[in-house]
Symmetry: C2
Subunit: 471 residues, 2 copies
């Protein structure tokens, strides 16, 4: 990563260069084009959509007609308060304010302009004080991406794949004026492809996502996150673009705030199918023990940060245990986990102890103690709230799963302002340089609430694209 | 902060430039000089010593003769484990390892080579699993600085005051080769003084301290820390040198991990005299309430991060309350706080309520509840450990203090390796560039344990100075 001099002549010119083709990049490209600009979209991978295509497509928005129909009163202010609380007040209130103020009209834009459909249902997810999470018709973020791509095409632009950002270039006035890229790039070989200089007559929009899969970069900021910890993200969520933005003077923010999911299994790759079983059955109606001691280590319904940190700090996967009745009561499934050997069934507790090499007597004691807490509706050990329909763990078969957190979202990135301008180390906008989505930091603070990522990408992506016209 | 071109000719040359004259900078200068180098020490303020001169001079070291004499068994490994636990495992184990391995010989060096004296006493501070904190004879960090300055003089060098770093310069090989400074600088006017180019033939050592007093910079990384929050540090602990290091490509780390002290009063500046009263009397034998509600908000003996966050998140100072018996039992003083009007005495609880505008009935209930917890030796509300010699709050006069946290230490900074080399965004050493002390990050992780700062500065300062010879 060295300075590259400006070329004598550029090989290509456009008004706006958008880097990344996920929710944020495509939203920026659409708005920039609609504002009358020529736009080039660059994507380092061979397929478009980045990590957005594996998103679950759940979108938090305050004040929608879906909420209204369900009799739910919500306001931008309430969503802001929820996000600040989850973010431990490390969020920049200005950025959260921008997000919540533009959420409803951006959501409506996905319906009216993009043609995205949503189920007539509003979920209340953890950390949200009321139901405000909307689900795409097909339960997937790829539905939004697909509609964005259709729009992109109808606007006469396209995503150039296998083109990786190499350098962001500034002119002598410190104004971002173009990029060098590697065309024909083969992830992750930084020397693959052929270098090309592309001039951005108006601006560059960085929408390259987070660094959940970048072991070197993430483990600098959180040394626990070595390659011993997997990610729920695609392999392509790496940090080279963030580093390039920092190299040209962007202010870093919250790089060490890296969110892990505590519901994942080390026995499969990526997000996988384990979370449904662990989150909705084990944590609700069962327990989790450290196999070295046979003891519980945490309130299994604590927030994802507390749970992930606790498991991670044991240094090894922990064992989640549920029983047949828990599965039944939950309304969720374990059979697909059993089929893929991610969960295992046991007819008695001693078999669990033997299989996972857990001290048998301690495991037995942990289960007996927990069962007595269920009866008393009080967990004096960790204060876990005992659900009304919970019963003692005593109905075999017992279903077990190895649980080990995975990196899920990186809250940190480059600092932007409410206009999606990237700020420098003196907190001033870097001229001609915008960013949106997970590559930025400060919106979510210490912890991103579930279903707040898509709307973040769309709101700031659109703002960046609209502002491109003014650059 | 723009690129400055290399000069045609330098106005001055030396082998090693040390920036900052606190513990770390002076240690680096001494070692660099002893290794045969010409050394220039630059200090932006008019006095030498930086924030180190107001340090309390308490030094954590494992395996000293003081510990041995007191029958305390300690090892570098044990100190490492304590530091990692406090740091929430965000510390870089390599850096902690370097610190603890070199702590004992560096401590001995302060005695044998510098002539620092220590009391024959070893303290156990919060978060340390055994007593390992050593106190300078005069209870002050300035004693170490004074001895370092004497040594500096005897080596024929001196601290050039009112010389502020402006730019760090790299040659075409990305090797740090010198600096521009402002001579005759008047803090905090960045345009004051006259620019001068100084060449570093071997290296530049950055030892410029933290950014506890830099409201703009710290509030980017923790937006709660506006100018509504004071600092225990000198005004001069600002971020311009860290920003310059980032500008030339240093990897930032842990910038949002900013430590606050929960024992401070908004009714005096800096560290002040309040902490003795709040920490050793109020928190131990009394309670703290939110004046808006009259209720307790936290276990008053929780760690400094939990307590500071809780107070900060109320948005206003909270009220600490102790009584005459608490003062007596503690062995500490309240009279100097009363004299300076930082603490106030009240003959009855209703007077406290009236003075601080606390809902009277709620305050009364809080005290009565707490008193019953003291009798039962159990605090069901926040789990505060009730001390053996605690008694109900019922012995007037009652002594009260307004409590509002202050920024105390910034764990973040530029990333170094165990050789004190500053690392770039690709985790490679920036040639000719070293750093030590609070300007670096990664040693303390999420939270610095009390008494671990001085030894951090001295160990890495010495390493940086010794390595200068090899540059």
């Amino acid at each position: 990563m060295k300075n590259v001099s400006l070329p004598e002549s550029w090989e290509e010119e456009t008004e706006v260069i958008v880097i990344g083709s996920g929710f944020a990049g495509l939203a920026a490209a659409i708005e920039a084009k609609n504002a009358g600009n020529s736009v080039i979209i660059l994507e380092k991978m061979k397929g478009y959509g980045g990590n957005s295509v594996i998103s679950d497509g759940v979108v938090a928005v305050p004040g929608t007609t879906f909420q209204e129909n369900a009799g739910i009163k919500d306001t931008p202010q309430l969503m802001l308060e929820d996000m600040l609380e989850a973010g431990l007040n490390l969020n920049h209130p200005e950025l959260v304010g921008t997000l919540v103020e533009h959420a409803a009209d951006t959501f409506q834009w996905t319906i009216d302009y993009l043609g995205v459909t949503y189920r007539d249902q509003v979920l209340r997810l953890g950390g949200h004080s009321i139901p405000r999470s909307h689900i795409t018709g097909k339960n997937s973020g790829s539905e939004i991406i697909k509609k964005q791509i259709e729009k992109i095409k109808s606007l006469g632009i396209r995503v150039r794949t296998r083109v990786c950002l190499e350098n962001i270039l500034k002119d002598s006035d410190e104004h971002v004026c173009g990029v060098t890229v590697r065309e024909g790039y083969q992830f992750p070989d930084q020397s693959s492809g052929v270098r090309k200089f592309i001039k951005a007559k108006k601006c560059v929009v960085l929408a390259t996502g987070g660094y959940a899969s970048d072991v070197e970069f993430r483990s600098i900021h959180d040394p626990r996150l070595t390659d011993n910890v997997d990610s729920t993200n695609k392999y392509s969520t790496t940090a080279e673009a963030i580093k390039e933005a920092l190299r040209i003077g962007a202010m870093p923010i919250h790089l060490s705030w890296i969110q892990l999911g505590p519901w994942t299994s080390p026995d499969e790759k990526f997000y996988g199918i384990a979370p449904e079983f662990s989150d909705y059955i084990v944590f609700q109606f069962g327990i989790m023990v450290d196999p070295r001691t046979g003891k519980r280590i945490v309130n299994e319904l604590d927030d994802r940060k507390v749970m992930s940190d606790t498991i991670l700090n044991t240094g090894h996967p922990c064992i989640g245990i549920a029983d047949a009745r828990g599965v039944e009561v939950s309304g969720y499934r374990v059979d697909h986990c059993l089929r893929k050997d991610i969960a295992k069934a046991f007819s008695q507790i001693s078999d669990i102890a033997e299989h996972y090499e857990i001290p048998s007597r301690e495991l037995m004691e942990s289960i007996e103690s927990y069962n007595s807490y269920v009866v008393e509706k009080l967990d004096p050990l960790f204060g876990k709230p005992i659900l009304d329909n919970a019963e003692p763990l005593s109905n075999p078969p017992y279903y077990c799963i190895r649980i080990w957190p995975k990196v899920h979202h990186t809250m940190g990135g480059v600092l932007i302002n409410g206009e999606a301008q990237v700020l420098n180390l003196s907190k001033q906008p870097i001229k001609g340089f915008y960013a949106a989505g997970e590559v930025t930091g400060g919106v979510h603070g210490a912890s991103r609430l579930g279903s707040c990522a898509i709307i973040d990408c769309l709101v700031f992506g659109r703002i960046a694209g609209k502002n491109a016209a003014k650059s």
